[in-house]
Symmetry: C2
Subunit: 139 residues, 2 copies
Amino acid sequence: MASPTTDALVQLSFVIQSRLSDLASSRDLSLTQLRMLGVLRDRRPTMQDLAGHLGLTKSSLTGLIDRAEQRSLVVRTPDASDGRTVRVELTELGRSLAAEGTVAMNDAMDALLEPLSASDRKVLHRVAVRLAEAGQEQA
Amino acid sequence: MASPTTDALVQLSFVIQSRLSDLASSRDLSLTQLRMLGVLRDRRPTMQDLAGHLGLTKSSLTGLIDRAEQRSLVVRTPDASDGRTVRVELTELGRSLAAEGTVAMNDAMDALLEPLSASDRKVLHRVAVRLAEAGQEQA
DNA sequence: TATTGTTATACTCTATAACTATA
DNA sequence: TATAGTTATAGAGTATAACAATA
């Protein structure tokens, strides 16, 4: 048997992912696309950097950006200083979808956390920050 | 901007999913297949029930079980009392993989939680149980 | 008629390997 | 040669709609 804490944490992560997935697909986005839009809100990365942020190979990213570009969510722009490099940025449409997605995410998480006491929320916040940092460093 | 708590929780869920994914793919399983094996550890469900547990359509499940059956992880068995119904159960190989996966999951979660104090773990446990329950009821 | 499951089809996501263009 | 990105190819996962078999 899985330990009770393992089980609860894993289940919670599936609950969160499922909320995010629903929220994305109600806007005809995949979860990967929603993450990608989120990353681009404050960056104009190269293809390779973006692949790194999302944990994808460069060829996977090519396809992802192809589909997003077809939908006018992002554009590829040449890099002035290196002819091999391509930078990706949001279009206006992409930016508004990204902003909308962020609001929806906050609402969904607020709803999920609603049953918790203020002190539990505080602890959860602190613990989540710490674990997320530790987890991403290791990866 | 996403609220700090939303951000941390969402990131944490991605960290957990990524750990689980790694753990699954090191055994040549997808995360969905690993979940499916976990569900079958203590059930012998119909195709439809299993689809419900995993949040998939019946046709998606047909493909998933086709692939798992080709790898001898599960078997389809006819239901004695209803000729339309198919039940799915683990093979010995599937059962040992499922058990191994559970152990690996516990180890991975223990490693992730290692930096937390005992009291933080206690709160996290209680909160995760509560949120996971609430989240799954709603779904 | 209603239910259970499969098939046909299509699309997204992902990867590996080979390729092109630039440095 | 090395790096950035794309293309070719393949397979998993997912869904919708049409179908077959059973109830």
